[in-house]
Each structure stands twice: as structure tokens, then as C-alpha cells.
Amino acid sequence: MVFAATGEPTTLLPAVTTAAIERDVFDQIFLKLAEIGRDGGTFGDSGFTPELARSWEWTDPLTLTFHLDPRARWQDGPPVTAADVAFTFDAYTDSAVGSDDRTTLIEHIASVTASDSLTVVFKFRDRYPEMFYDATYHMRILPAHLLRDVPRATWQTAAFGRAPVGAGPYRFVSWTPGQSIELAADSTYFLGRPHLRRLIWRVAGNLNNAVTMVLAGEADAVEVLVTPANIAKAKADTALAIYPYAGSTYTFVRFNLRANGDRSKPHPVLADPQTRRALVLAADRPQMVQAVFGGYAKVPPGPMPQVWSWLWKTKLTPTPPDSTAAARLIHGRHLSFHLAVPSTSPTRVQYAQLLQEQYRRLGIELVIDQVDNPTLQQLLESGKFDATLESFVTDPTPSSSVPALWGRGGPTNYGQYSNEKFDALVRTASSSATQEAAQTAWEAAFAALAQDPPGIMLYALDNFAAVNRRVTDVHIQPDSWWGLVRTWRIPPNQLTERDRAGR
């Protein structure tokens, strides 16, 4: 089974990276304590399926005890023990390793200890609805016996990252740099050997090359199609089946509320909320979505991707475009500002051009600056921008990314947006006990955001994966695209020469 990958991983050691390209591969090799359910719910422990942990219980409101499955073994032999789990927590929270999840884990979990070889005890600092999610979702359990002696400061470049060993359904076989990564099914996997014997990721370099590979039959699957042209081509191809699933990304224009290059002063154009509202009204978002995605994306009413499907059931709708109202708010002033766009994303460059033309008709001058990613990151961190066009890949829950991006003092709130009402509503929403209460609270929070927009929420993608028809039982998990590959099958009468090779 060959996947066309749009990029190449840099390392397959889970603790040092959370990028999608790398997760695609190492989620086949490593296991978590429990896996999130197909509906992506993060409240309580509903829907979670056991993986390394066979069962769990709450011994008291702040203590969660897991019982590991005794059948679990590392791919090089030794059994998986609670010491491995404790070691993993220690590594994930070690600043020398530099995990993206470190802050979340430290904030809520006080300690993880092994009470015996198969029992792990998690002690939390406080009660909140997503305790189970935080305990299980972030950490992929690592083999202590292989990593204990590797100095933490060198984990970023450790050889283990190029030849990982886990406890999951697939074991690592080979990595040909710039070309492909190969995994083989582990026949001793305790939850049942996966049907697909070999998994190969072929590096295609970019989206179009990846789609071309799949259309030409050189690869069997690609996780996103993005453009309507690709979707049409894939639909027309009789050998491919299309699987829609909720996307985890949303794309937005971020405004800088402080002056370009000088955080002490307000931005001359963008500090005024009325101007920002005008800019949102002037952007004909439905038209842009239609032109670029042919309708295969939605305009979000707030900073949310489609994977938070329970939030889309609210009554909230995005502000409809209204150029007359926008013109009125602008009062005939000539507005002009720069938009920094990463040159690596053709879709965002297209969006920038569409936005530029829409604004030009209203007398707003938008200057596009195509920059590369490191430059964009530098512009954001130093505050030397007017506006940027960014995409964000979210977690299954809003309570981590929304305050980080838009809350006052949030680590990625580069535009220095500050709205007390919004912050208070976010706090309420994050601590709501049930999904219904959270839904209402988030609805109110996003409504507050619309009055004083920190940016323009452009689109939330509908994702489509294209998989060759001969593969059956295909399920796509929205937050981890190929997470359920272990359940896929190819019926024996459909095996091709490529599948048979290497058996």
C-alpha cells in the first residue's frame, strides 16, 4: 500500500515533533494508552478505545489509574511496562527534549508513576472535562530501554528518529532519504496483525506531484486533494474512491493591532475595530471559497476547523459580505496595508490575489508580499507585519488552540489582540463540563469575536482523501489521517504485483 506524501519527515521520534507528515508514519509504529474515538469527542473518556491500556479507572477525582495490556511488547522483544509510560511522561515534559505538548502536560498533570509493572498512576492538579483526553492523546509511549541512555539534548537528531522502534502494528523497515519510507506489518501485534503487509510512503515534494502520482497509479492513496481540479480528476478516475472527512485546518488573515515594527503604538490602520469590521465585510468569502475550492470548503463563523463538528451545529453564521456597509465604515479613506503570504502555498497565494482584487474595487490597497516560511515566522515574532495569511492545524479540542491564538497573552497571538469579554467566555467554555454547555459558551465567545474581529476567518477545508478502490474497510480519522490504516484490507483477489512483492 503506497501513500503519496506531500513532504518528507525529518525525524520519527514522537516526542520532538507533532507535524502531520511525521505523525502519519510514527502513529503506525507507536501506540498511545487509549485512542480517541471516531467521533473525535474529548469530553470525559467516552468513545476512547483501549490501546496499550486495557482498562482504567478513577481512583479519586484527581487520580487516574491505567492497567496496561500484558500482551503488549516492543518490536525488539521486551514487554511494555509501566516504567515505559513514566519514562515517556518524563521525556515529554523535559524542556531539553522540547515537545510541543510540554506546556499542556505540565499544566494539568502533576505526576505519572508506575505502581507496578503493569499499572500506571496519573495524578492531576485540577478537575476539568478533558482530563482523560490530556492523559492519553498527546503521548506516544516510548521504549525506555532504548532511549534512557540517549542524552535528552540530542533527541532532536538522535539516530532513533531515523530507525524507530515502537509497540504498534507496524515495524520500521527502511528509509531512503528523499524517496521513500517503508514499514512492515508486525505479525506479533497483540491486537491482531494488520491486513496490509507493507506500507510505503513515497515522497512527492508537493501536493500536485502527490496527486499526479496517485492518478498515474504509482501510489495508492493521498490524504488531501484540496483543489477542485484535483477533486474532479480524482472523481473521474475510476480506479480511485473518494473519502470525505472533516478537515483539521482553518485559514485566516491575521491583523496586527500594534504598529508594524513598534509594539508600543497602535497600528495606524488596523487598530480601529470599525476598520477591521469593514475589512471583514468587504471580503466576499463565499465567492472566494467558490472560486478556489468550488464549494469544497466552508466559511467558518469563528476560528474553527470542521473537525470540531459539534461546534458547527450552533446557530452562529459567518458575517455575510456587504460591500456597501464596508464602504460606509471606511468613510472614503484610502486604506493601504501589506499582506505577507507564504510562497509555498499556492492556495493561499490565490486567495491573496482574490482578496486584493476585491479590496481594490473598494479603494483599499492591499500589497502582497510573498515570503518564505522562516521569514514569515520572523515577521510574526517580531511584530513587523500588517497582516498575514496563515493556516492552522488544530487539535481535536478548541480549548488549546483558541486561547493560544486569540486570547490575551497567548503564545501565538502575534497580532496582540485583546478582548476581555472574549477571554472570559473562552474560560467558561474551556471549563464546561458537558458538550452542550461548551457549545453554548463557544457560540457566545465567537459572537463576541465577530464584533471586534482579530482577523478574517477565510475557510475551513472539507478534506478528501483519494484511495485506490481495491482497498476496502477504509476509515479516515480526522485528526490523524492514516490512524486507522491498520484496519484496512485488500481482498486477496485484488492484490496487485506491487502488493505481492516483498511478501
Binding site: 503506497v2 513532504g7 525529518t10 525525524t11 515533533t17 507533532t18 507535524a19 502531520a20 507528515i21 524542556s95 531539553a96 522540547g98 510541543d100 510540554r102 506546556t103 539534548a153 532532536q156 537528531t157 528518529g161 531515523r162 531512503t176 532519504p177 528523499g178 524517496q179 521513500s180 517503508e182 507493507r198 510505503i200 513515497r202 515522497v203 512527492a204 515534494g205 506531484n209 499526479t212 502520482m213 492518478l215 498515474a216 504509482e218 507564504p342 509555498t344 518564505d372 516560511n373 522562516p374 521569514t375 514569515l376 515566522q377 520572523q378 515577521l379 510574526l380 496563515e390 493556516s391 492552522f392 492545524v393 503564545p411 501565538t412 504485483e497 506491487r498 512483492a501 516483498g502
Partner: protein, 323 residues
């Protein structure tokens, strides 16, 4: 002779040193810093700070500069930030791919170019010459990345004769017999090599034709004709040797260009070579990798021109090697 050799080697080292120093300063001054994850989820500042400390990036620039050259003198190229492994390995994986592509392209380039140039000179001014002159001019003037896209569209997507990219069919390659593996590699090589080779052949043909026509005007050719030799013998035995010299020097210049000028082709065909490695390294601000590829490229240029000079001197005893 020895003095000339020594002077050239010394000059070569100086040039490489200067080029790498220039690159060092430039890349460190570029906006943006190296440690960015691929899908734009920003890294926590403490992590970035720690990484910078690990790699010595928080020291003052002159100190980093000295350290780098001391390290280089010991033969260590450092570790790549974007690939998380030694730079030497990254380059060692990329160079064979590029060499394969460029030597094939050069072979196509010079074989086709010399033959066409020869043919044109033999039929100078006649219709076939004029027609070929326009064809070679057209190919020489094409943007290589555009030709790459067109070839990919026609031969890979519409006709399906060749694959759209990559070096091998990874899923099958391991289990193919030797002949099958060779065939697979060849199939993947055709389109990229053809793109580079065709554009180059256009230039080489024009060059060869001009050189031949000039050689044909020389005294000794008139003598050969007066002796009664057939035109073809005149062309091949006498004039061509003379006209081959400038083409050899062209080869000296072409080699380093092909080592790194294939960036655009490698991007279109997903060919994991040195050009793509270097371009990616620049946009990822992967300082050790950028410096190493610049070092390699500059050495190739210096070596290439050196070899071209030596070959010219060997082939033509009239040329004396002066500094």
C-alpha cells in the same frame, strides 16, 4: 608547469574560501531562523532557545565563523537542522542522484549537440542548416522549467509512457531482478535528463557549428582541400579536432552548472538531488547544509574550469598555460 599548477591550486582554495565566507555571512544575516516545523505550528520559545544554544547559534557571529572553519579543517561538515542527521549523509544521498541525472543530460547534450553541429557545418547555408539553426535556437531559448512541465504533461500524464517523477518505483524496486531495476531507473531518468539535455544540446550545437565554420576557414583546411581530400575527410579529420577545443572548454563550464542548475528540474520531477537539497536548505535556513552545498558547488566550478584548461592545453600544444 609546476608553478602554474601550484598557483592554480592556491587560487582555487582562495576562491572557495571566499565563496563559503560570503555565504556564511549572508545566510546568517537572512531574516528568519532555522528551527521551524514543516506545517507551521510554531515551536515554543524555550525550545527554540535551547536548540540555538545546542548548535552554538547564540554566540557572536565572528566566533561562529571561526568555529565553522576550524570544524571544516577537521573535515566535519556539521549536522543538518532540517534533516536531523549529519550533513555529510544528506549530501552523500543527494549527490549520486544529481550525478546520474547530469551525466546523462550532458551525454545527451554533447552527443546530440556535436552531431547536429557537425551536420549543420557540412551543409552550411543550405535549407537543412537553416531549419536546424532555428530549431536549436528555439530549444536553447526555452525556459527549462517550462519544458519540464510540458514534457511531464504530454509524456507522463497524457501518454503515460514515463513516470511523473521520482528516481525509482520504490514499492517494486526491491523485488525486481537486476535487469528490471535497471529498466526502472532508466524509465524514471528519461524525462528529466531529456529536458536538461535538449536545452543544452541547442546551445552546444550552435557553438559547435560556429567553431567548425571558423576552423574551416583556416589555412590548413585550404591545404587539405587543395590536396584533393574529400570534404567529409577534411571536416572530420582536420577541422573537427580544432573545433572540438572550444566545445571542451564548454564542457568545463557546463559541468558545475549542471550540478546546481538543475534546481528547477529537480523540483518539477521530485528528483532528490543536490540542487533541490540546496534550494530547500536555503528556504529552511539550514545553515550547515547551505554552507556544505555551496562548498561543493564552488569546488565543482573551480575544478571544472581547471580541468577544462588542462584538457585544452593537452589537446592544443599552441596554448601555453599561463597564470
Amino acid at each position: 608547469m609546476r608553478a602554474w599548477l601550484l598557483r592554480r591550486v592556491a587560487a582555487g582554495i582562495a576562491i572557495v574560501f571566499a565563496a563559503v565566507s560570503l555565504t556564511f555571512v549572508a545566510i546568517h544575516l537572512a531574516p528568519g531562523q532555522p528551527f521551524l516545523p514543516p506545517d507551521e505550528r510554531p515551536m515554543a520559545p524555550e525550545v527554540v532557545a535551547r536548540l540555538r544554544r545546542n548548535y552554538g547559534l547564540d554566540r557572536p557571529l565572528p566566533e561562529q565563523y571561526l568555529r565553522y572553519f576550524v570544524q571544516l579543517a577537521r573535515g566535519e561538515l556539521g549536522e543538518s537542522f532540517s534533516q536531523r542527521r549529519p550533513v555529510a549523509q544528506a549530501i552523500a544521498d543527494a549527490v549520486p542522484n544529481t550525478l546520474l541525472l547530469t551525466t546523462t543530460a550532458l551525454a545527451i547534450d554533447f552527443t546530440l549537440g556535436i552531431l547536429i553541429g557537425l551536420f549543420q557545418a557540412a551543409r552550411a547555408r543550405r535549407r537543412s542548416d537553416v531549419a536546424l539553426a532555428n530549431v536549436t535556437l528555439f530549444f536553447y531559448s526555452l525556459p527549462t522549467f517550462w519544458l519540464a512541465l510540458v514534457l511531464q504533461l504530454v509524456f507522463a500524464l497524457w501518454l503515460g509512457w514515463f513516470p511523473t517523477g521520482g528516481v525509482t518505483e520504490s514499492a517494486l524496486y526491491g523485488s525486481l531482478p537486476l535487469l528490471g531495476r535497471l529498466a526502472d531507473r532508466l524509465r524514471h531518468l528519461v524525462l528529466p535528463a531529456l529536458t536538461l539535455g535538449l536545452v543544452g544540446a541547442g546551445g552546444t550545437a550552435r557553438f559547435q557549428r560556429a567553431a567548425l565554420l571558423e576552423a574551416l576557414g583556416h589555412e590548413y583546411v585550404r591545404t587539405a582541400r587543395a590536396k584533393g581530400l574529400a570534404e567529409r575527410a577534411v571536416l572530420v579529420r582536420h577541422a573537427w579536432r580544432d573545433a572540438l577545443l572550444p566545445v571542451i572548454s564548454l564542457a568545463g563550464v557546463a559541468l558545475p552548472f549542471l550540478l546546481t542548475g538543475a534546481v528547477l528540474i529537480e523540483t518539477v520531477f521530485s528528483w532528490p538531488g543536490l540542487g533541490k537539497l540546496a534550494a530547500d536548505a536555503i528556504s529552511a535556513r539550514d545553515y550547515p547544509l547551505v554552507l556544505a552545498t555551496t562548498l561543493l558547488a564552488t569546488c565543482a566550478v573551480v575544478a571544472g574550469s581547471f580541468i577544462a584548461d588542462v584538457l585544452t592545453a593537452v589537446a592544443d600544444p599552441r596554448v601555453r598555460l599561463t597564470a
